[in-house]
């Protein structure tokens, strides 16, 4: 089969932007393969999402409804996906490199006897053999690799904000309901509690003031908080970020983490305080419009990607800066 199937995802009752990005790239791949684009929506009540997906003009939207698909218990989702793939036999299967995609991708690939490439930033069809060319940053972003594997389905998870979201199509896709057989005994991992925390949406920040190992201890974030408040008088949405090491040390919660395994951001201004600039961190913030680095080590990586640099102890500079900002 030449169908390109994408796993759709819902967020607050409507299709997640990442799904629309997948629709965009999926449509191109389907054309290159000479096949159709199809979208798959799973859930306890997927009807609204399926109708919305249909308006983007895929050939078909597969809608899978089951009470056990409420929320996200990976084992039920995997069983459902296995059953759908057995029926639909997609040639290419794409998912977002999101929380769900990261969990489902490798496990589903294993069950289908396929090879997956994760976190792709580009996809194309090799005209010679029809296989998917999967482009992915490796070595923390120090190199870009193009992978290719035989077998079906051709599977990839796709990084967010890389492809343009699709615009609504002229023709509506056909909605096809698929029944799956699931029962509660299929889950070997039981959910005990789902807890919503107040998380920092770093990708919505205009300015990020971030701290790393160079702060020396947890108290260093108090100085950053003073700077955040001072900047908030002149800039909208100023948030606190951090490097991985600050989370490892337990100084701050992981929703503040910037980088490959944290949040990828591109604010107007990024202020890196005591962050040396491990490549995994740089990948997450290097698209910031202006980068200001404060560090005692003049040779550190962060200065190589910064627009403005201050080689000085943050304990001396930040309080003085807060004072000066108040005067402006």
């Amino acid at each position: 089969m030449d169908d390109v199937l994408i796993l759709g995802d819902m967020k607050e009752g409507s299709l997640d932007t990442r799904t629309l990005e997948l629709v965009g790239v999926g449509r191109r791949l389907a054309k290159e393969r000479g096949g159709d684009l199809c979208v798959l929506i799973l859930g306890d009540a997927p009807g609204g999402g399926a109708a919305e997906a249909a308006s983007y003009g895929p050939a078909k939207v597969y809608s899978v409804a089951h009470p056990l698909l409420k929320g996200f218990q990976p084992e039920f989702w995997l069983k459902a996906l296995e059953q759908v793939c057995a029926q639909v036999k997609p040639g290419v299967f794409l998912m977002s490199h999101s929380y769900k995609g990261m969990e489902l991708g490798p496990r589903l690939a294993c069950r289908l006897g396929a090879r997956l490439t994760t976190d792709c930033i580009d996809l194309a069809v090799d005209p010679q053999d029809g296989l998917l060319l999967r482009t992915k940053p490796v070595s923390g972003g120090n190199a870009i690799s193009v992978f290719k594997c035989p077998g079906e389905p051709q599977m990839a998870t796709v990084r967010g904000k890389v492809f343009e979201p699709a615009a609504a199509g002229e023709a509506k896709g056909e909605i096809v309901e698929i029944a799956v057989e699931l029962d509660a005994s299929m889950a070997r991992v039981a959910s005990l509690e789902v807890v919503k925390e107040e998380v920092v949406a770093l990708d919505k920040a205009d300015v990020v003031v971030a701290g790393g190992a160079g702060l020396g201890e947890e108290d260093g974030f108090e100085a950053l908080e003073d700077l955040r408040k001072a900047l908030s008088k002149s800039f909208g949405n100023v948030m606190i970020g951090c490097s991985r090491v600050a989370v490892d040390k337990g100084w701050i919660s992981s929703d503040h983490q910037v980088g490959l395994t944290g949040t990828m951001i591109s604010p107007d201004i990024y202020v890196a305080v005591g962050i040396s600039g491990a490549i995994q961190h740089l990948v997450g913030m290097v698209h910031s419009k202006k980068i200001i680095a404060i560090n005692t080590d003049a040779g550190c990586n962060m200065f190589k990607v910064a627009d403005y640099g201050v080689v000085e102890d943050f304990e001396k500079i930040i309080p003085a800066l807060v004072e000066k900002l108040e005067e402006l």
Partner: protein
């Protein structure tokens, strides 16, 4: 309750903290060359720390497995110095540049050879290829329950209870042992190891077991190499940094404040 037998899978990689200047792409041979010391992949260190805390509470043993073409026991002995009981190196030419599935397959063969285990811990992803697949594939191949992105792990009455990170907060889940858990950095960094302890472990301990594909019963033909069509350098990230200087911190702060003003 019986003592826990924990297996931690740890990968040796070039230090991901290496400066940009130490990294070079060899496009012809499709290799990333990093002129930096080898270290244990950071998330795998978090996994080891989680294992150490569990055995401190409940007793038990920790076996660390590391797979590659050439694994250095000098690098991996850090795991012993930190408190692991046993280190097994899985090394063979056949283990060079494997795809994620084949790595998981060889690890699964090694774990079957070890036989008795309660819990397998891996890092959520390795710091070189960043694929994030091996742990979950290993759970699938072994046919045991898997939980990913753990920020806290405890063992209670024959089950593992995991606080796993979600985009909105966390979910507490429970699975019967044996199970596999992939560990994220919120678990905390690997404990401090004194230089004396590290040196003692490097000099003192006996030879480290090393198993090849044949020892695992893994047919080399069953292992597939990563198929890389092309490897290239990323677009240059460098910018021309303007350093702000002054006689006093106050003067520098004044210049920095002016920069913010200009960006308003």
């Amino acid at each position: 309750m019986k003592e826990m037998r924990i297996i931690v899978c740890a990968k040796q990689i070039p230090d991901p903290e290496a400066p940009l200047s130490d990294v070079r792409v060899d496009a012809a041979n499709k290799e990333v060359i990093v002129d930096a010391p080898q270290v244990i992949s950071p998330f795998d260190e978090n996994a080891l720390e989680a294992a150490l805390r569990i055995t401190e509470d409940l007793g038990g043993t920790i076996t660390v497995l590391s797979l590659g073409k050439k694994v250095s026991d000098t690098v991996l002995r850090k795991a012993l110095a930190a408190g692991a009981d046993e280190l097994i190196l899985l090394q063979d030419d056949a283990f060079d540049k494997l795809d994620s599935y084949s790595v998981a397959q060889a690890l699964a063969d090694a774990i079957r050879k070890i036989g008795d285990y309660d819990l397998i811990l891996t890092g959520r992803q390795a710091g070189d290829w960043d694929s994030g697949q091996v742990g979950l594939l290993l759970g699938e191949i072994l046919g045991i329950p898997s939980v990913s992105l753990a920020r806290e792990i405890s063992v209670e009455d024959g089950s593992v209870v995991v606080k796993k990170s979600t985009p909105e907060g966390y979910e507490r889940v429970k699975a019967a042992l044996p199970a596999l858990v992939t560990v994220s950095n919120e678990v905390g960094e690997l404990r401090y190891i004194s230089r004396t302890r590290m040196l003692k472990m490097l000099k003192g301990a006996g030879s480290i077991p090393s198993w090849g594909a044949q020892d695992l019963g893994t047919a080399p033909d069953a292992l597939k190499k990563m198929s890389i069509v092309e490897l290239s350098s990323p677009p240059d990230m460098r910018r021309d940094c303007q350093f702000l200087e002054g006689a006093t911190p106050d003067e520098v702060a004044g210049k920095l404040a002016a920069v913010f003003k200009s960006l308003q």
